[in-house]
């Protein structure tokens, strides 16, 4: 039998997939599956080291929209041409598909996709006499956050990511900055942190969090905010759409029945502050088991798989954000109140034109260049310092500008 070693991230949907592989085994008795399930950062390190050194330890990789275009360009991934007759590639949501393709070829199949949106507490809004528009502006968000903040009772108007990291606070802040008209680089790869758009973004963020955010925000990431929101400490939370299924799950959340959803806010500039991400399955170039690997990918990202999950675990637990057909399914709409909002959010993101002004890169909440992980983390540290109050906004921006200029020069983008 062929043995596939699959590297995967330990998010809920992936874990669920592992428990459903009997179905795959039944259909492909000659393929054995072996799982390496890791926390996201560790996984990324391992997978990257493995593929960059061509060590060939994995047959299927779980990677994100950040890696796919970079790696595809390097020829490290096998184009997925043999996903099978009834795979229906065209059913994939266009922004997601665009994020995973290079020159029209699909290099990774999306397992689940996500964008970001506003999650808010309907009960608190009602109490404050507020009504959340479907498409809020930042000013409305700030205003509402201040109104519902009740620090004495441990209720904070808004929870946002603050922990330093390219995939933590910078994911949120990059997306937010897009809606403020900011950009990381101009067409000549000159960093833009010295521009007013970034200053506005960061000032707004820091002030908002100071007035209406929870303590310790500078070390809060997705999980910390999820815990805060679920325990009723947050009035609003702007974060990944996958969170929707957690906050509405009565087993995990105290506020499951009080949550409302809205699109990520904008500033009237034509870009929303939402991102686009898809955890996807890909096959490393040089894999001797590419056929089997593609078979597996096809199974895991197919419509049938969605049905399989629905039949075993209910529609609410189906991996979201990849196929248009899912959102057309009335059963799914019924089971997932957040379905429409998720779809709208995803569709409003444009990885190829993420910003108001033109940029030389793709990627919504990241810049799809290899240097971004390091650079994003370094800048993220500066911004978290501004949030923590150990540095000013101006100082943080200046430091970010200096770091970015340095790194980009070193990497040879700036000649």
């Amino acid at each position: 039998a062929t043995k596939l070693t699959i590297a995967t991230v330990n998010n809920g949907d992936m874990v669920r997939m592992q428990s459903l592989t009997d179905d795959f085994k039944a259909k492909n008795p000659d393929i054995d599956l072996e799982w390496v399930t890791l926390e996201e950062n560790t996984l990324r390190q391992k997978v990257t080291t493995d593929i960059a050194t061509k060590a060939g330890q994995f047959d299927v990789l779980t990677i994100g929209t950040y890696e796919v275009p970079i790696w595809a360009k390097k020829g490290w991934l096998v184009p997925l041409d043999n996903l099978g007759a009834n795979y229906d590639v065209d059913d994939l949501l266009p922004p997601i598909r665009a994020g995973l393709s290079l020159d029209g070829k699909l290099y990774a199949a999306p397992f689940y996709g996500e964008s970001s949106m506003v999650m808010y507490r309907k009960d608190l809004f009602d109490k404050a006499g507020l009504k959340m528009p479907e498409q809020p502006t930042w000013d409305f968000i700030a205003d509402a956050a201040k109104k519902i903040t009740d620090k004495d009772n441990g209720v904070y108007g808004i929870c946002l990511r603050g922990k330093a990291g390219w995939g933590e606070n910078m994911a949120f802040l990059t997306a937010m900055s897009n809606s403020f008209g900011a950009r990381w680089f101009d067409e000549k790869w000159q960093p833009q942190f010295d521009q007013p758009e970034w200053k506005n973004t960061l000032n707004f963020y820091v002030n908002l969090m100071k007035e209406a955010g929870p303590p310790g925000a500078a070390s809060n990431g997705f999980n910390e905010n999820l815990a805060l929101f679920n325990s009723g400490k947050c009035g609003m939370w702007i974060d990944a759409t996958v969170a929707a299924s957690f906050v509405t799950n009565p087993k995990d959340s105290k506020v499951a029945d009080k949550v409302g959803f809205a699109l990520a806010p904008n500033n009237g500039l034509g870009k929303n502050a939402n991102w686009l991400w898809a955890w996807s399955l890909a096959v490393p170039a040089g894999s001797k088991k590419a056929d089997a690997a593609e078979k597996f990918i096809s199974w895991a990202t197919s419509k049938d798989y969605l049905n399989l999950v629905a039949s075993k675990e209910g529609w609410a637990n189906v991996p979201p954000g990849t196929r248009a057909s899912l959102y057309a399914n009335p059963e799914y709409q019924k089971a997932a109140p957040f379905a429409k909002m998720t779809l709208d959010s995803i569709n409003s993101a444009d990885p190829d034109h993420p910003t108001v002004k033109p940029v030389p890169y793709t990627g919504v909440q990241f810049v799809a260049i290899p240097e971004f992980q390091g650079l994003g983390t370094a800048v993220g540290q500066q911004f978290s310092a501004a949030l923590a109050g150990s540095s000013t906004v101006d100082a943080a921006l200046a430091a970010a500008q200096a770091t970015a200029t340095r790194e980009m020069t070193k990497a040879g983008y700036i000649k």
Partner: protein, 276 residues
Amino acid sequence: MARRITTTRRITATAGGWLAGFIIFFPILWMVLTSFKTELDAFSTPPQFLFFHWTTENYGIVQHRSDYIHHAMNSIILALGSTALGLLIGIPAAWAMAFAPTKRTRSTLLWMLSTKMMPPVGVLVPIYLIYRDTGLLDTHGGLIFIEFMANLPIIVWMLYTYFKEIPKDILEAARMDGATIGKELLYVLTPMAIPGIASTVLLNIILAWNEAFWTLNLTTVNAAPLTVFIASYSSPEGLFWAKLSAASTLAIAPIMVLGWFSQKQLVRGLTFGAVK
């Protein structure tokens, strides 16, 4: 000092001791408690101390989700293997340094320790490339070797300080009795040093057990020990505290039990000759 110990002193000392012990142990206790909570209870405020809904479902999920036994076996193989190799190479070296010292012995020992000062991440890529080319990635052998190398300085040093306590008369007596060096090591030194060797073994098992950098970066499936098992529970997406607590409890339980049962040995060995 065998004067009567007053009751007050005993009471104060007992109260103070238990308080300090409790405070230090508390994070672990809290972790264990959390592992029996639902995710919702795990972060509820005010915190639930004992009167929460006790559940073992986290352990069930952990067991179901990943192969604890497989990882635990790997941890055991790794810990024992690297320690055994360390003893095999370390005992003769420590013997030589303790009983046939040269002028350079002291600097050699310090040099050995200094090899531990390189941050592992700085040499990750070279090691990774070497391992890739020698086919050692994700093999027990490869992992055992690297843990062995990482701990060898500590092994040699501990054994050295321990051997130095053994009267060299006895080794000389063996020599007069006609024992060769090999037999001297086998029949006389090693049996006499059993307590010291035992504590060396223990410390190394603990170090190898808890080592998280190489084990994470050089393994995938076959040789993955419990550190990898843990790494699959600190999810950046989703609620995981109770499950992580359960996984962590499982991961440290064997070593904790081992350590507790043999704490006397451990204490001895840990002293690195600091105590005469």
